[in-house]
Each structure stands twice: as C-alpha cells, then as structure tokens.
C-alpha cells in the first residue's frame, strides 16, 4: 500500500445556509499527480481551503502526511507548498522581495542565491528586481510556483494553475509541473478546468460535483472503459462504412465530408480498427482519437444531476 499523503473523508462545509461541500472524500498517495476535477462551484477551492486550514470544515476528517490538520497545522504546512485560487503578491515589492518574505515564514532559510535560483527555475531570471505589480498573470503564476517550492515541500497543491494563461503559458506551466514530478519526485494535487491537461499530467483523479465526490481512481483505468471519439480518413469510404458496421453493430457512424467517418468506440476496441480495415484492403490515411476525459467528465456530471 503506497504512503497516503492526503486523506479527506466525508468533508463538509457550509457558508450560512449555502452548503458548499457536502461529502467529499479522496486519497492522494506519495508520488501522485492527482487531478481534482469539477465544474465551477463544485466545491474544489472550498475543499482545498479546508485542507490547508484556511477555513474550518464543519465535519469530516482531513489528514495530510497522516496527521490531522486541525492540530498539526504548522507541521503539515511546513511540508506543503500551495497556491489557492490565484497567486497574489505584494505588488509594491519586487519578485525577489516577495519570495524573501514568504521564505522567511516557510520555516526554512533561503539565501539570496537560492531565491535567485528558484526564480531561474520558473523562468523569471532577469525579473528578480521588478515589482510584481508589473507582472503578467503568467509571470505571477510562475512566481506562485516558485513560492510553493522555496522550502522544498513534499506536497504541492495547485488550484487551477493554468487558468487565464495563453497557450504558451499553459505549456510552460504544464512542463514545470511535469519537471516537479519527474525531477523532484513531488506529490502534486492539481485542480484544473482544462480537463485534457489533467489527462496529460495526472495519474489519479477525483471528480466532484455539487459538493460531493462522484468518482475516484486511476486516470488510465477510468479512461479505459470509456468511449473515444474516432475520426477516420479512409478510402473507399462506403466499403469502410459497411465493414465497420458489420464489426461493431452497436455504434453509430457518421459520414463527414469526403472519405471521413466519425464515431465513438470503446478504448480497448480501437486497435482493431486498423487491422479490420487493412484486412479488407481499405486505405487508412488517418486515425484520430479525440480527447475523452471531457466527454467522460460531462457524462459523469450529467448522470449525477439526474
């Protein structure tokens, strides 16, 4: 059994009469990049705030590093780096000075050299002495990640770190997270709206909706049972259509433009497509399987709504 880093059981939190989190449970193990998914208002940020003791949960059990947060807050936070919602800094201070301030209360000493090295690691070299007020959102995200890493934490909690970033910014942050996992062996809890990103980065995930967790497990396992969206470019189109209909009578195939077919198919049956078409001497010019997690996510959320 791998070491449990985060264990949340039956968490609930309300603000007045509004029940923000009803029943959230999940577990993150050492070395996981754990995706925390849910539509807007599902209770992700509230759960994260409870987890980091920013707000007090009404009920439920929150343990990090096998310690309850309510009476081991400082021990836990010493081993945790986090950004909740968005990274906010003292705009009137420089990037260096901001990190210096956060390092001082992180429980470890960080020299000027170390802070500069961290700024370099997140791609902010040369901007050390610029005031944060002049930074773009992407630069603040990078600075936020630098802030989480200063005290070399075992666990990193990132709340929608790619929100509001341009495509290059998203790629940069994604690569940064992958480096943290691969080069620094960090355990990472990541919430994101970009579901395909979770699919690319995370190995395990939980989906929450309306304040409760719906499904939890390995991304691979959860995806393996799901239908993929397939787009084929084949010739001859009509023959391919007949072959596929005979082989998979349960699927609905749509003819799209010249030589194109579109349909949904179970992930484990995808390898059969090429074999089947080749054996009937049908030329396959392209086979594109589109992102599935989004479909899966929407389906799960819709099922929960019923």
């Amino acid at each position: 059994m791998p070491e449990s880093i985060i264990s949340i059981q039956h968490l609930s939190k309300s603000f007045g009469s509004f029940l923000a989190v009803k029943d959230v449970s999940f577990q993150v193990f050492k070395g996981d990049v754990f995706g925390f998914l849910g539509p807007n208002g599902a209770g992700k940020s509230t759960s994260m705030r409870c987890m980091l003791s920013l707000i007090k949960a009404d009920s439920g059990d929150i343990r990090l590093f096998d310690l309850p947060i309510h009476n081991h807050r400082e021990d836990i936070l010493r081993r945790t780096g986090s950004i909740v919602e968005k990274p906010d800094f003292y705009k009137y201070l420089t990037a260096y000075r901001n990190l210096d301030i956060f390092a001082r209360i992180s429980g470890t000493y960080s020299s000027k050299k170390e802070i500069y090295a961290m700024l370099d690691f997140v791609g902010l070299n040369g901007r050390e002495n610029d005031k944060v007020g002049s930074f773009s959102h992407g630069m603040k995200q990078r600075l936020g990640i630098a802030q989480t890493l200063l005290h070399n934490p075992d666990l990193i909690v990132l709340d929608e770190p790619t929100t509001g970033l341009d495509p290059q910014g998203i790629i940069d942050i994604r690569n940064l997270i992958l480096r943290l996992k691969e080069e620094h062996q960090k355990t990472i809890l990541l919430s994101s709206h970009d579901l395909s990103e979770i699919e690319m980065i995370a190995n395990r995930m939980v989906i929450i909706n309306k304040g409760k967790s719906i499904v939890e497990g390995s991304v691979k396992e959860l995806m393996s049972t799901e239908n993929l969206f397939i787009r084929l470019e084949v010739e001859p189109q009509q023959k391919a259509l007949e072959v596929l209909k005979n082989a998979f009578p349960e699927i609905q195939i749509q003819i799209k433009g010249e030589n194109q077919l579109e349909f949904h198919l179970s992930r484990n049956q995808v390898p059969r497509i090429s074999q089947l078409l080749n054996s009937h001497e049908i030329a396959v010019y392209s086979l594109e399987s589109k992102r599935s997690l989004e479909d899966y996510f929407i389906k799960i959320v819709q099922q929960d709504a019923i």
Binding site: F15, L54, E74, L77, R78, V84, E85, D88, I105, Q147
Partner: protein, 280 residues
C-alpha cells in the same frame, strides 16, 4: 518565527507609500506652524499674557522652543490618530484586499503570531510617528526659537515651568501620547480583523474616536458613568505632565485605562482572526 514575521511586516510597511504620508504630513504641518509662529507668534503670545499683565510681569524669551513644542503637540495630537490608522487599519484588511492573506496563511505561521507581529510592527510605526513629531516640535522649535521657561495656560490658570524642568516632562508626555496612539492603532487593527477592505477600518476607527470624543465632551449626565473609561478621555493626558503639582493619580489612571484598552482590542483581534474563515 515571531521575529521573522515582525521583520516581514517592517519590510511591507517601509515599502508602502502611504506609510510616509504620516511623516510627510507632520513635517508639512509643523513647518507651517513654525512659519506662522515665527511670523506672528509674539502677538498671539501677548494676547494670552495680556490678562495676567496687571498681576505678573513677564521677562525673557517667552516664545521659545518649549512653548512652540507645546502648542504644536496641542494642535497636532488630535490629527495624528488618522495618520496612524491609515497604516495600522490596513495591516490585516489590506492582506485580505490584496489576497496575500491566502498565501501567508498557507505557510507554517500561526494566526496569533502573524497578528502579534503586525501589532508589534504597528507599534513601532506609531513610535516612529511620535518620535518624528517630537523631533520636529522640540528640536526644530528650539533651533528656530531658542529655549526658555515654559508658560502653560490650563483651566486652573497659568503654570510656569523652569527651563531645566521641561525636558523630562516632554519625554514622559510623549510616552503617554504614544500609549494613546497605540490604543488607536490597536483599535484599527482590531477593526481590520472584521473587514476585507482597507478603507472600512480606517473610517470606522476615526468614527469611533469622533463618537467617543463627543460623548466625552457632552455635558450630559447619562454619559457620566462611562466617560472616565473611554480611551478618548485619556488621549490628551500627556498634558498632565505640564501641571504643577504633577497629578500622579490621574496619570496612572490614564495609563491603566489606555493599557487596558490596548489589551482588550488585542484580545478581540486575536480571537476574531483565529476564528475567521480565509475565503478572500
């Protein structure tokens, strides 16, 4: 951790432009008062002394640095609370408004430690304001007007304090004035714990001071029982050091009431801040 956090708070206060408003305002106001008194101070003084001239004869430099400092303190110690509240009222609520409180409170620092560090930093800032006021009033007053005996007009009549007997009274007066301003700082920090914007606590602090001052000055018997316990009643108790004989009991009572208010506001702040959900 407390020391490190206090150091952080000093960095933040020193980097904020609004922190220099107080120093700038004092410099400007004292400069204006010094200029006005240098231009027309003697006629103001003769207006005060004219009613005593039939019974007393005045000799020497009456319009000296000691009197100038007294006049300046009397005029400015009413406005200084606003300058203090501008900075201290923002210490907690400003972190909420900027969102930095989320970042700070995900670090291994307890809420009580953070609040105490802000209180200490606020106290040091308040001390800086008082010290600067002292330097401007006493040092510059003496440079431009020289020294001499201090004539103070109070409700019981004229008090004349000899030149060598003045400095310790000013130092003690500044210490009590510091306590009064620290009470204002504690109040604004306390109100800051209830708010998530910077303006609210500053306005609320000034409103409370104005309200309590009105209650303290209104000659209405219904307020008689609470008037002695309002901190605003004791904000001008620095003047007691310029009485002869020295009203020791009054001074001690004022110090106790001011310290009690500081502890009360600090206690409420710690309790509130520890209970507060950080949902900013």
């Amino acid at each position: 951790m407390l020391f490190k956090s206090v150091y952080n708070e000093f960095i933040k206060i020193a980097a904020k432009p609004r922190s220099y408003l107080g120093i700038g305002a004092i410099t400007l106001l004292v400069g204006v008062i010094l200029f006005a008194l240098k231009s027309d101070g003697l006629s103001i003084l003769s207006f005060v002394t004219s009613s005593f001239e039939q019974t007393l004869s005045f000799e020497g430099n009456l319009l000296n640095g000691n009197l100038i400092a007294f006049i300046i303190l009397q005029m400015l110690l009413v406005q200084i609370p606003l300058l203090v509240a501008l900075v201290t009222g923002d210490l907690i609520s400003g972190e909420f408004a900027m969102g930095t409180i989320r970042m700070v409170m995900t670090k291994p620092i307890s809420r009580t430690t953070l609040l105490l560090s802000k209180f200490i930093a606020g106290a040091v800032y308040t001390a800086c304001i008082i010290i600067w006021l002292g330097i401007m009033a006493l040092v510059f007053g003496r440079i431009f007007f020289g020294t001499g005996d201090l004539i103070v007009l109070n409700t019981d009549g004229l008090v004349i304090l000899q030149e060598h007997d003045v400095l310790w009274r000013y130092l003690s007066g500044f210490a009590v004035a510091f306590l009064a301003l620290l009470t204002v700082a504690s109040l604004s920090i306390c109100l800051s714990c209830f708010s998530e914007n910077s303006i609210g606590p500053i306005v609320a602090t000034m409103s409370i001071i104005i309200l309590f001052t009105i209650i303290g000055t209104l000659e209405v018997s219904v307020f008689d029982s609470i008037r002695p316990y309002l901190f605003t009643t004791h904000m001008a108790s620095w003047r007691n050091f310029f009485e002869e004989p020295l009203p020791k009991t009054e001074i001690i009572k004022s110090v106790i009431i001011l310290v009690a208010h500081i502890l009360l506001f600090l206690g409420i702040s710690i309790y509130t801040f520890n209970k507060k959900d950080i949902s900013a």
